[in-house]
Structures are given as structure tokens and as C-alpha cells.
């Protein structure tokens, strides 16, 4: 029989941060993916919540699209607060 499907695993740590991708594993179904993720990725209290997503369901941008996708942001430095120098005398801004 063919290999069990691949799942991508996301863990949320205790400190209120978003789920973060930690790796992948093979499992027959979602329940098993979560059990295995518990054993593999949270042996040292790394998390309080697990997402398991079938790897085939993840749509990813292509490295070739890096230019069109991300370069437009390079020229828009005014999106950062540091673009606007403030006078020394002005506080709390």
C-alpha cells in the first residue's frame, strides 16, 4: 500500500503567539497527525495547540514570483514610521 499522506504541523507556544510551522510528518488521518505531532514536536512543553494541515492543501508562492510579489514594497519606505523624522521637542509620537 502507498505511503501515508504528509501533514504540515503548526504549533502555538504558550506565550500567546500565532501558530508557527515546525515541520511535517506522515499520518493516516488527522487524529493520528495530531497525536504524532504531540509526540514529535511538543516533548518539552513547546506548545499548547496543534494544527495539522495536509501538505497537498498548502498553496505556496513560487520563488520565480519573488520579484513581482515582494519588490513593490521596497520602494514604499513611507510605510515605516521612521520615514517621518520628528522634531526633538515633540514627545509621545
Amino acid at each position: 500500500m502507498s505511503e501515508w499522506p504528509l501533514w504540515e504541523i503548526f504549533i502555538r507556544s504558550q506565550h500567546g503567539l500565532a501558530h508557527k510551522h515546525v515541520g511535517s510528518l506522515h499520518a493516516a488521518d488527522a487524529a493520528m497527525a495530531i497525536n504524532n505531532a504531540r509526540d514529535v514536536y511538543t516533548r518539552r512543553n513547546e506548545g499548547v495547540s496543534i494544527w495539522a494541515v495536509p501538505a497537498t492543501h498548502i498553496a505556496a508562492s513560487s520563488p520565480a514570483d519573488k520579484g513581482p510579489l515582494f519588490e513593490p514594497a521596497n520602494s514604499k519606505v513611507y510605510r515605516h514610521p521612521t520615514f517621518f523624522p520628528m522634531p526633538e521637542a515633540v514627545k509621545h509620537i
Binding site: M1, S2, E3, W4, L6, G23, S24, L25, H26, A28, D29, A30, A31, M32, D39, V40, R43, R44, S49, W51, A60, S62, P63
Partner: protein, 333 residues
């Protein structure tokens, strides 16, 4: 190391003139310290070499559980059993992180396991030695995991992103392994004369195989030079081995144990320990399948895989049946 004698498939180190435009851009990224990711363009030789190296490393983690598994039921206290079990569980995890990293290069898990089981893919020579007494478990943690750390810490900075990230996770867990080994030996060395002798006996048997883990000198190796250019090998075998000797000798002195090497002595001019010649015939003999435990280790792995086949198939069949009935959707938390 956990990956020894990795073949790059090249006949000479690629120079800028040999390279296509794609390859030059690829090498430039590596030289600039930019990580390569799975969907990026990469030379076929780089991909194949990484598959060999990472899968060999993964196989070592998995086969490495076997010499220790022998002692789970024999560990002297309940706490020692629990600790050893946790260490062995970590090794399974390390194998999995590494298999997953290799899978991003387009090779399937089943293919890698088939290559291990057929003998086509190798695992580290060190796991073909027997664990004869409890002190051997201490020696493995101290010397084998200690050597693994020396090899793996630089790999956290290697050029392939998924491999480097797997190494970061592995290294975080590995120092527990080395300390639990040293702790076992510390206890034995502070015990009765017989217990201290057990520790010395284990060191006598594991010292040279541990030094062999780093592989023969690769100063002249074409494959090592190519791997260094690709930044999937960051230090020479000899440099890593020297580091291991330098840091381990004082640890042995603290235990009151003697290193089984009459030529070992501090060299003030070099600022390193000099040590005796390694028996490379023994190393090649083990690599070629004739070590004390090669057949037993591989036989155990193949049997576990074959005996578990019905269970893996049953779980897959069950999952297929469930998903045909109703879509198993869960609320995202």
C-alpha cells in the same frame, strides 16, 4: 560522522568556468550566505548529495536507537529507565526531522527506507558495535552524542534551509543526551572499584570507534571540497575530530578514567592534544558490513518494517473508509 564518506557524484570541484548561469547564481547565493529552499533552483548534484547526506544522517538516528533499546529494561533504576526511554524517543524524533528535510528534495520516505533496508544507503559505523554493559550507555551518551554535537552545531548554518532548521531542533535536544551519558559514568566512577572498572572498560571499547565516527582524513577529498563549496560541510573531519579529543580528555580526567591511547599527550606548540593512529582497516570493515553487529542491526530494522506492514495498511484503510463516510473537519482553534 552520522553521515560518513558522502559521495557528491562530481569528478572535479566545479569552478566558475564549469558552471552554467543558473549554477553561478546558485553558488553566489551560497557564498552570500543566503539559504537555499526546496523550491529554489539547484544543481542536480547538490540535490542528490544532500539526499544522500541527510538520509544517511536520518538512518543513523533510527538505527542508533537499537543499541540503547537493549538497555531500557535493564537500566538500574526506574528513573534511569525513564530517562533512557526519553533519550531514545528523541532519537526517533531526530530521524523524523531529518527524513522530512530530505523529503523536501523530492525523495519519498518509502524510497529512503527501502534504500536503508537493501543496504544501498549507509548509517554511521558507530552503531554496529554492541552495548555489553550498563556503562556502555553512559559512554554512548558522552562520546557518541558528544561527537554528534560537534558535527551538528556547524550544520545549523549549512546552505540548505530545511536541513539547517532540522539541525537547530536536533542540537537543542542533544546536550541532554550527552549529559545523561556523563551522569551515568560519574555515578559509576564514584561507586565501587568494580563499577569504576565497568566505566573504564566501556571507554576502552568506545573511544576508538567514536574517533572513527568523523571519518578518515578528508584533506585531499574531492567530495569534501565540493561539499565545502556548497556549504553542506563546514569543517574538515580532522578538525572536528581534534575538537572532540581536546574537549573530551579533561572530562575523562575528571572521571578518573584513562584514555586507551599511549600516544595521547598535550602538545603545547599546537595548543592541542596529539593522539595515536586510528585503525582505518577496522573502519572500512565496519562500513562494508562486517562490524560486530551490522547484520543484527539491519535485520532488526527490516523485521520491524515488515512486521508492521499489516498495521500501517490497516490504519490507511481505516482512514480511507472514514473520509469516504464524512469529511473530518475540525474547527480551527
Amino acid at each position: 560522522m552520522y553521515a560518513q564518506l558522502v559521495d557528491t557524484g562530481v569528478t572535479k570541484v566545479r569552478t566558475a568556468e564549469d558552471m552554467s548561469d543558473d549554477e553561478r547564481r546558485f553558488q553566489q547565493r551560497i557564498d552570500d550566505g543566503i539559504r537555499i529552499e526546496s523550491k529554489d533552483w539547484m544543481p542536480e548534484a547538490y540535490r542528490r548529495t544532500l539526499v544522500r547526506q541527510i538520509s544517511q544522517h536520518a538512518h543513523s538516528e533510527i538505527v542508533g536507537q537499537l543499541p540503547e533499546g537493549n538497555w531500557v529494561t535493564r537500566a538500574p533504576t526506574l528513573e534511569r529507565k525513564a530517562v533512557l526511554l526519553a533519550k531514545i524517543q528523541d532519537e526517533a524524533g531526530h530521524g523524523l526531522y531529518l527524513y522530512s528535510a530530505a523529503e523536501t528534495l523530492g525523495v519519498s520516505r518509502d524510497q529512503m527506507l527501502a534504500d536503508l533496508h537493501s543496504g544501498k544507503a549507509k548509517y554511521s559505523s558507530i552503531f554496529n558495535y554492541p552495548t555489553l554493559n550498563w556503562a556502555d550507555i553512559g559512554a554512548i551518551g558522552w562520546l557518541v552524542d558528544g561527537s554528534a554535537i560537534i558535527n551538528q552545531v556547524p550544520l545549523c548554518r549549512c546552505s540548505y534551509g530545511p536541513y539547517a532548521r532540522a539541525m537547530v531542533r536536533v542540537c537543542k535536544e542533544e546536550s541532554f543526551h550527552q549529559r545523561q551519558g556523563y551522569d551515568i559514568l560519574l555515578k559509576l566512577c564514584n561507586g565501587t572499584a568494580e563499577q569504576k572498572q565497568m566505566a573504564q572498560d566501556a571507554l576502552n571499547r568506545w573511544w576508538w570507534p567514536a574517533l572513527m565516527m568523523f571519518g578518515p582524513s578528508d584533506a585531499e577529498s574531492l567530495h569534501s571540497a565540493q561539499s565545502a563549496q556548497w556549504r553542506i560541510k563546514l569543517f574538515s573531519n580532522d578538525a572536528l575530530r581534534q575538537k572532540m579529543v581536546d574537549q573530551t580528555v579533561p572530562q575523562a580526567e575528571f572521571l578518573g578514567l584513562s584514555i586507551p591511547d599511549p600516544d595521547l599527550k598535550w602538545n603545547d606548540a599546537r595548543g592541542h592534544y596529539d593522539f595515536g593512529a586510528i585503525d582505518w582497516d577496522e573502519f572500512y570493515n565496519v562500513i562494508q558490513g562486517n562490524g560486530p553487529c551490522n547484520r543484527e542491526r539491519l535485520g532488526t530494522r527490516v523485521k520491524a518494517w515488515e512486521d508492521g506492514a499489516w498495521f500501517r495498511d490497516a490504519l490507511a484503510a481505516h482512514a480511507g473508509k472514514q473520509s469516504a463516510g464524512q469529511p473530518a473537519e475540525r474547527q480551527v482553534a
